[in-house]
């Protein structure tokens, strides 16, 4: 809304060059300033318009400040408005000149016309000059008590502006309590809404320093106040309704009848013409019923129709936003939308960002009953003029194929794609066929027959080429001329620019060699020679490795390079369920659109203590106050985006009800732990769970390097306190401070894995061994537990992080201890306890 800052001014030749015009204007304004002739307002208006238009296109007209102020002594509102606009724009850069305007603005604040009073007050508050705040308090105070609601509305927002310029002035003038009074008593709902948004902001920011503010903030989500707002919700403007609904989502009703009351009251909001209101209501419904599974399902049914309408009506931007939300919902409840799959069919001239989301939706809602129709539809898009979408839709077909058990028809379709003679279609289809074969090896015969017909010359894209080469290697026994194709590919080694393809080529030649040695021998030799001479480090290393292992023992090489493979049952999910849950908590915010939790895009430095915060988030422990990275978890609060960074930190600080958390981070003892966490977070923030394994791998290696002899000084038998107790906060603090004493990988018995279907069973079991659980989480196949134990009759603690993967039947254990010497003994105790798990 604000005109561009002067620094960005552009002086293209067509625009007035500035200087002479400005001095011209100055002269004319001076002449008019004193004049009282009739019609003078009209000429002033023309001049003002010129000034503003110069200002808008970026010419610096700040030299006219004095003249403008002089001319502003008028009763004409348009003139005044233009003048206010001018003043508001230049006051910040010319604080001294701004002082000039205070006088006439203050005078206007007492004008008899409420419109002028309001406008003057708004401009006064918009000056944002720190040394002028003293002049604001008076007009604001009287503005809040004004008889006209327009002025009061403006004054309320003015208080918030004042707070941002100078928080102390605002609090000292006791404006928050005045706002509270207004909020509870004013008949005008717009004022109530403005008070609400202002107070939410002020109290959130104040809560970290003032207990009273924290209390007041809590009071905003108390029952009487929420009911007060809900009962009047129809009188609020649509925007204010969004604000109120957002507040309601934070309210925790005491019993189910209350939940139903609120939902009944709000049901008609789902029919509101404003999509923002509808979505805010949907969020209330979803959050209220989280604990009631049956009702939650009914809610999905109820909100379905309004959301689908929002998708198909309105602008593409709106469709995109709503589709993102639908995608989130569909991940949680795919069956709800499975009968409405036709809504996600793409229209020809939709923007491709909408189409892409729709394709994702189609993939997500596909099930046994609708797969055929959906795949048929997706195949239509494969012939689409829009090539990226055509690619996406082929990929979608592949994803559906990987989800379903009945893939017969889909495989046929994919094979048709291979024959379509469009290079991008062939390329995408090749990659998919490769993935399919990894999951359904039984289809290899049908696929290979078709793949064999594809000339590798027609495939140019690295990914597709790599896929083709992989298949050539893997199924070389079924393909007549596989060795010769590979040989010709090896001959053209230098023309192959992608390292990925060269790597695949090496492996494929190796595999082919094990299956058909005589035909491949020459190709293998050439490939290894070319590989060793390759400038790419990975290719070079792999070729060297193959060469050496072949020289060492060919059968070992075969076991390494071409072991019997198991069909892949589940491909790795790119997003952990934790992050999905987090995004769901932030429903109706930009998090859903970015598919990232808010802390990932609001807080760049926030990396280090992040994972830990994730794990213990359910214990509502505060955040790590890192000594370098002063980052804390972002409270799941949409308004964060509106706040400045400084305030954000205060807000977050307040999120844990004043518990003592800000322990200085002792970097010297925990450098290793935090570094690995940071590394993994950086390398792949969305798959924190997976990447952490990598860092454990490093631990493992280090662990092997140390002498594995148990510490002689440690007591032979370690006794644990059966009634150990540890405060979650203390646990977190210790975890942060202590270095990793031990980390190892343990195997679980099949019985143990079977018993883990109920994680609580493990908790009970460990407790019987005096090892207590403090936090647990995760979903099959990955579980994560935090345990602790205490030495008998000694205040010495052991902390354990244990990540169990049920598919591999492995447990990654990380132990930290107050007393480092006994950690080995504790580790064996822990191992013993874990090994007994599952045995009756």
């Amino acid at each position: 809304m604000a005109p561009p800052a002067q620094s960005q001014r552009s002086q293209s030749p067509s625009q007035p060059s500035g200087k002479s015009e400005v001095s011209d204007l100055k002269l004319q304004l001076r002449q008019l300033a004193g004049s009282r002739a009739p019609g003078v307002d009209d000429s002033k208006r023309e001049l003002f318009k010129k000034v503003i238009s110069y200002m808008t296109i970026g010419i610096d007209v700040s030299s006219l400040f004095g003249e403008m102020v002089m001319c502003s002594a008028t009763s004409d509102i348009v003139l005044k408005k233009m003048c206010y606009l001018y003043v508001g724009n230049y006051a910040k850069v010319n604080p001294d000149l701004a002082l000039l305007t205070i006088n006439f603005l203050q005078r206007d604040c007492h004008d008899e016309d409420p419109m002028i009073r309001g406008l003057a007050l708004r401009s006064l508050c918009s000056l944002r000059v720190a040394n002028l705040v003293e002049y604001l308090v008076g007009p604001l105070g009287s503005g809040l008590k004004d008889s006209n609601s327009y002025v009061r509305t403006v004054a309320v927002v003015g208080v918030l502006k004042l707070y941002h310029i100078s928080a102390s002035t605002c609090v000292d003038a006791d404006f928050p309590s005045t706002l509270k009074h207004l909020m509870l008593n004013d008949p005008d709902t717009q004022i109530v809404a403005n008070c609400l948004s202002a107070l939410e902001e002020i109290w959130s920011a104040e809560a970290s320093t003032s207990e009273e503010a924290a209390r007041e903030r809590e009071a905003l989500i108390s029952k009487p106040f929420i009911y007060y707002l809900l009962n009047r919700i129809k009188e609020f403007s649509e925007w204010a309704q969004c604000l109120v609904l957002e507040l309601v989502t934070k309210y925790v009703p005491s019993d189910s009848s209350e939940i139903f009351d609120i939902m009944n009251l709000l049901e008609d909001r789902l029919q509101h013409a404003n999509g923002a209101v509808v979505l805010a209501t949907v969020k209330v419904f979803l959050q209220l019923t989280l604990s009631m599974t049956d009702v939650h399902q009914q809610v999905y049914e109820r909100i379905k129709a309004p959301l689908l309408t929002l998708v198909s009506s309105g602008s593409p931007e709106q469709s995109y936003a709503v589709l993102s939300h639908l995608h989130l919902l569909v991940m949680r409840a795919p069956y709800v939308f499975s009968s409405d799959y036709k809504h996600f069919y793409c229209q020809y001239n939709e923007p491709s960002y909408v189409k892409r989301l729709k394709l994702e939706m189609l993939t997500a809602v596909a099930n046994e009953s609708n797969t055929y129709e959906i795949v048929t539809e997706l195949c239509e898009y494969a012939a689409n003029v829009d090539i990226p979408i055509a690619r996406e839709s082929i990929r979608a077909v592949g994803k559906i194929a990987l989800q379903q058990y009945d893939v017969n028809a889909i495989v046929d379709r994919l094979l048709q794609f291979l024959e379509m003679e469009k290079d991008y279609v062939t390329a995408e289809a090749l990659v998919l066929v490769k993935d399919l074969l990894r999951k359904y090896p039984q289809w290899s015969h049908d696929c290979i027959a078709v793949v064999g017909n594809i000339s590798s010359k027609n495939v140019q894209e690295p990914k597709a080429k790599a896929a083709l080469i992989w298949m050539l290697g893997e199924y070389s026994q079924d393909m007549q001329d596989a060795p010769y194709i590979l040989e010709s590919l090896v001959e053209n080694w230098d023309e192959e620019h992608s390292a990925e393809v060269r790597l695949h080529l090496l492996t494929a030649v190796m595999k082919c060699f094990f299956k058909r040695p005589p035909e491949t021998q020459s190709a293998l030799g050439a490939a290894l020679a070319a590989g060793i001479g390759d400038f790419h480090q990975d290719v070079h290393d792999r070729a060297l490795f193959y060469y050496r292992i072949l020289r060492y023992n060919v059968s070992v090489a075969e076991r390494v390079v071409n072991p019997p493979k198991q069909a892949v049952s589940v491909f790795a999910d790119t997003q952990s369920s934790e992050i999905k849950d987090r995004i769901f908590d932030e429903f109706n915010s930009l998090s859903v659109l970015y598919q990232k939790s808010s802390y990932m895009f609001t807080d760049k430095e926030h990396r280090g203590p992040l994972e830990f915060a994730d794990e213990l988030g359910n214990l509502s422990i505060g955040e790590a106050a890192h000594n370098v990275i002063s980052s804390q978890r972002v409270e799941e609060n949409d308004k964060d985006l509106l706040l400045t960074t400084a305030e954000k930190e205060e807000t977050r600080g307040s999120s844990n009800n004043g518990s003592v958390y800000a322990v200085p981070y002792d970097s010297s003892t925990s450098v290793f732990a935090s570094q690995t966490q940071i590394e993994s977070a950086i390398s792949n923030p969305t798959t924190a769970g997976h990447s952490q394994h990598a860092s454990f791998g490093i631990d493992d290696l280090l662990g092997l390097g140390m002498p594995a002899v148990p510490d002689v000084a440690s007591p032979p038998q370690l006794k644990l306190n059966t009634k150990a107790a540890l405060d979650p906060n203390a646990f977190q603090q210790k975890w942060r401070q202590l270095p990793v004493a031990l980390s190892q990988e343990l195997s679980l018995s099949p019985q143990a894995v079977a018993s883990l279907t109920v994680p609580q069973a493990l908790l009970r079991h460990m407790q019987s061994h005096s090892i207590h659980c403090i936090a647990s989480g995760g979903q099959s196949p990955n579980f994560k537990f935090f345990f602790f134990a205490q030495k008998y009759e000694e205040p010495s603690n052991y902390l354990v992080e244990c990540i169990i993967n049920t598919t591999s039947a492995k447990a990654q254990v990380k132990i930290k201890a107050d007393d480092q010497r006994t950690s080995q003994a504790f580790s064996s105790l822990f191992e013993l306890a874990l090994s007994k798990f599952g045995t009756p």
Binding site: Q190, S237, G275, V278
Partner: protein, 341 residues
Amino acid sequence: MPPLMGIEFLCRVSDVLSDYLGGLNEDVIKDNFVIVYELLDEMIDNGFPLTTEPNILREMIAPPNIVSKVLSVVTGNSSNVSDTLPGATGSCIPWRAADPKYANNEVYVDLVEEMDAVINRDGALVKCEVYGEVRVNSHLSGLPDLTLSFANPSILDDVRFHPCVRFRPWESHQILSFVPPDGEFKLMSYRVKKLKSTPIYVKPQLSSDAGKCRVNVLVGIRNDHGKTIDSITLQFQLPPCILSADLTSNTGTVNILGNKTCSWSIGRIPKDKTPSLSGTLVLESELERLHVFPTFRVGFKIMGVALSGLQIDKLDLKTAPSRLYKGFRALTRAGEFEVRS
């Protein structure tokens, strides 16, 4: 921040601006920047939307055409800002300005429907849906209380209402009861899905071999609604691999635009013949056959009928003024009407 709040607000700003300025583009905004500033000033303050109801804004800030009129008549104290604050800011019906007076009391109700359909190459209906709006243009004095009922409300799949509509009567009896804003507004929008037929058919036939592609498209009326179908158009994008196209039709005109869009405007379908478009496309030299087939987008307009079958039963006004004129209209347009080939 809630994403839809931003999007909805921006849409509202653009609606209001184009309402005020009679269009929305860079030049119009440059010419009227004062009004734009004033409007934005009232619509948003400190990042929070304030007044967005066009009726109330119009009371606070007069639209430009009135300004110029006033300016020419009165000099001196004229301004495009009303001296008094709008009464409605204080009233409990925020969308209605206080007490307008009209000599002729009129209310018009329009049903405007758009048909979205996808038809595949066998002529089967893949998807067909109607998105409709009830637009009301009301010029009524005082505080009129209207009720509108439909003959067949059960066909509606999902509805959204203007804030003025009371929810309970709709929930219990499917009656729209409301106090309308002054002037034109969208009372309700609705969706009707699972329609069984389309008013017109389009039969494209493409056959390609030896570097050429023969195109033949037939258009006709499927089932007669008794109303004439107007301004039928057909558009399709020629695939990029096509070098040249030679297309002729027996009715209407065919244009091939620069971006390889072919548009055929038929208008009304003549009684004596079926409109058809035929010709050949020449493909790029190395291509034998065409792999990408165009999608035909169809446009049409039918006055006087709502294809969803929705019918207005009656419109009542509590405390009817002496002279009241009520008008009803219906119109169906093609929305996203696509035929694949």
